[in-house]
Subunit: 317 residues, 2 copies
């Protein structure tokens, strides 16, 4: 099986999946549009969120970073930056835990010694005892660039972390996606899997970047297996993050149907929460089967149960 993954919502769903199958049967293709050099080190937020969830070392509620984390380096950095006048350019607004830093340093070192991001990610997964295959969408840089109402262009982390998703987004571009190739293994994982999942992540900011790479979109459009999306919008709101506001400001319906429409032609089944059962007919009209179940993954057990329900009723039915 495979999944095309963003951050927290995807990571939770994939953590649920590996509780129900041999992790080695799962390949997760991860968005790298949010990757950014922070304080000298390349940070891959979605890859790390997936890795930490799959190694059960994350803080589930916070949704990012490692559990039982300390922030000694981070506090010291903020202190030094404030003594330099607190220039936002110094990225003191980001938070990097001490144990998390080791991941970023290992990635940096592996890249410095000539490994690709794909090889680097596989090595970090091995170090974290993650048995599923985690692949970045591409070894080439693709950057999600957001144009906000003032006309300013923001990098993802600037929008997401520094400005706390407060700006109205009027345009999203996936810079570099046109010439980027899918990373080795990505197309095959999507084309030949018995099931491909698009877990409940932000369709515009997290799932659209991989799908902006032609080879990945084509692989999904022509995939052999059943293609299953899960709505990140429940009861008219995003479960996590700004998906609801982003959908609205870009003119999409803030509903499971609005999300399903973004994936038109790419999915066979769209899973919506019980709270949204009324949207089923609208989704069916898009040529997808609507499957209704409880989709709330407030902890690892709940995620395992949601994944099991979908595997039982949609994939193995």
């Amino acid at each position: 099986m495979s999944a095309i993954s963003g951050g927290v919502g995807s990571a939770r769903f994939c953590a649920g999946l590996v509780r129900n199958l041999d992790p080695r049967e799962l390949t997760i293709v991860v968005n790298t549009g949010d990757d950014e050099r922070i304080r000298g080190l390349l940070i891959c937020p979605d890859i790390d969120t997936v890795l930490y969830h799959l190694s059960a070392s994350t803080d589930w509620t916070r949704g990012w970073g490692l559990a039982a984390e300390t922030f000694v380096a981070d506090e010291r950095y903020k202190e030094l930056a404030s003594r330099l006048g607190g220039d936002a350019d110094l990225q003191a607004w980001f938070a990097l835990g001490d144990r998390d830093l080791a991941t970023h340093q290992l990635r940096a070192r592996l890249l410095d010694t000539g490994r690709t991001l794909t090889e680097t990610t596989a090595a970090i997964a091995r170090a974290l005892d993650v048995e599923a295959t985690i692949i970045p969408m591409s070894d080439e840089p693709v950057r999600t660039v957001l144009t906000i109402a003032t006309g300013e262009e923001l990098d993802f982390q600037e929008y997401f972390v520094h400005r706390r998703q407060a700006d109205e987004i009027i345009e999203v571009a996936y810079s570099g996606a046109i010439k980027a190739s899918p990373a080795p293994g990505v197309v095959d994982a999507i084309s030949t899997a018995d099931a491909v999942f698009i877990p409940p992540s932000n369709p515009i900011l997290s799932i659209a970047p991989p799908l902006a790479i032609a080879g990945i979109r084509d692989a999904l459009a022509t995939a052999q297996g059943v293609r299953v999306g899960v709505s990140p919008i429940v009861g008219g709101k995003a479960l996590k993050g700004p998906a609801d506001r982003v959908l609205a400001s870009l003119g999409h319906d803030v509903s499971p149907a609005g999300v399903a429409r973004v994936y038109e032609g790419l999915l066979d089944v769209f899973v919506i929460d019980e709270a949204d059962a009324t949207y089923a007919p609208e989704i069916e009209e898009l040529g997808m089967h609507a499957f209704v179940c409880d989709t709330i993954m407030s902890g690892p057990e709940e995620a395992a149960r949601v994944a099991k329900t979908i595997l039982d009723h949609v994939v193995h039915h």
Copy 2:
């Protein structure tokens, strides 16, 4: 005044100097031949040793890093690296404290935003409340490369930290020195100072790299002020580090006179320890005045006293 500085010995002496004069009157030109990317971040060991000593935030006895340091990121990194088989290439043999990491990240960020190493170093000094001017010897990379008895070439940190200075060095090269320019301010600081110090650091591994840059050597050779070296060899041994073994294996005398000979034509005064008073005539023969005093800097007070003695008797006499 100015100093051409290596690591610990130089940093101790400069910390002593600023206890006896207005720190803003001192410019320290620091060796960058040992600089190396460690786990993705550029580490400038001698610059940091000087900065930490001058901000009184170092561990004086250990000689590197910050006092009251934690190693959460470091331990985690070593754990991850060991799960990948402990490949030496992953640099788990280096130690980076959590608070120290903030310095390296700040440096990386400042470099990423287009600052030179000179500008970056000035900013970090400001953040650490260091009032002396700290300048890298060059903004261009110069690397100290060591050829050992087996014929292998080692980077400095590989030799110094990983292999714990156990190898016999048969040749030392300062790669990049020929085409490197002195950093802005370096030549002026040396040419016009009323006194230029070469503090007690390894003459081959720490002081020779800056002097391998023609502009710096020429500035020292023609400096207006009194040029004062301090012997890093006391009683036939290096006070810190492998200077004694390096001198011996490269055919130099392991004595204050052996060190003075390395600086022939570049110094007016060479300061030797009371234990080595018998070397005074040999040093005078090299055309330098030999000044004998207690040079042992086992703590900040002792360093201040050594610096005061030299200032009183050699510079302001």
